[in-house]
Amino acid sequence: MIDSYVRWAILGITLATFITRSGPHLLGARLRIPPAFDAALRFAPACALAAIIAPDLVFTGDTLNLTLENPRWVAGVAAAVIFATSRSMIATIVGGMAFFWLLKAWFVG
């Protein structure tokens, strides 16, 4: 990656951290979250995560690939099931990667 781009990106993420974590402490103590913003606060993080995860799993390069030759989406589904049943992040990561490697060895060789 280009160095200056990476530097700006890191600066940008740092700014995002500062705004969200320390920002509320900068504002006066009486300020409350407006009700209209409340829905965004509750729903946006899950929507953002889903919108980031989905393309990362189903695209190989720029082509949509929902066959077993793309083991990433299967590993993703497996990871979701593992977390829903075990509530363990370690089991989710290890189990998901195990699915990924097994399918890759099986179908892609």
Partner: protein
């Protein structure tokens, strides 16, 4: 997890409260460690250099935002979109900071900003649980600082181990996928409510269908339609 905590015993000194905070965080430590390790590996495997990854980990201190930014950075998405995405993924910290603010009110601005920087999912949950059971807990700031600084250290150590180890791991292992799997582990518990599940599904589908749009705008579109769907579903359920 809360069964093993020391909640219930009032601290007699800031030092003891600090120790309580550290002890209450320990049950979550293995999970934090695994998450940090994976974030470190994923940063390097997505193409970031080792020094850049370490700087990003230290200044951003936001695993989910860092992981979310990686696919965007890999495709040279515009910086503003990376900032907006990171803010959205971090929105939960706004809630945490708004809710902890009253407890830090007497402190200097400098200290409040540092305590804000240290807020995290786990320590916020512990702090809330403590104050719910013991609204008069003395030395609560020392308690918070103990757990939050311990979480920070644990996270940074595991991230840096991941970053350094990643250079020895072959690209063909596809370990950057572990970063996405971590995000799935964060997403699943959020989807226990119907409106969130509906919104997340629409966001995912939109983001995939609109993947061809320039500047990764499919992501922004997905989030907007997802939130709108969640709001509509919630209203429908309230009226039903």
């Amino acid at each position: 997890m809360s069964e093993s905590s020391v909640i219930g015993a009032a601290a007699t000194s800031p030092r003891e409260a600090f120790r309580h905070g550290v002890r209450d965080l320990l049950p979550a430590a293995p999970g934090v460690f695994a998450w940090g390790l994976v974030t470190g590996v994923a940063m390097v495997k997505s193409g970031l250099g080792v020094p850049e990854s370490i700087v990003m980990s230290l200044v951003a201190y936001a695993g989910s935002a860092q992981l979310a930014a990686l696919p965007l950075m890999a495709t040279f998405a515009p910086i503003w979109l990376i900032v907006v995405t990171a803010v959205i993924v971090n929105l939960r910290f706004v809630v945490y900071s708004v809710m902890t603010r009253q407890h830090f009110a007497g402190l200097s601005m400098n200290r409040r900003l540092w305590l804000g920087y240290l807020v995290g999912d786990i320590m916020f949950a512990r702090f809330s649980a403590l104050l719910e059971r013991q609204p008069d807990y003395p030395h609560r700031i020392a308690y918070y600082f103990g757990g939050a600084s311990c979480n920070w250290m644990w996270w940074q150590v595991s991230s840096i181990i991941g970053i350094l180890a990643a250079t020895r791991i072959p690209v063909s292992w596809g370990l950057e996928l572990a970063g996405t799997l971590t995000l799935i582990a964060l997403l699943v518990p959020l989807c226990r409510q119907w409106p969130v599940l509906a919104g997340a599904s629409v966001a995912a589908a939109t983001s995939v269908l609109a993947h061809g749009l320039p500047l990764r705008l499919g992501l922004a579109l997905g989030i907007a339609l997802g939130v709108a769907t969640a709001v509509v579903v919630e209203r429908g359920r309230e009226e039903a």
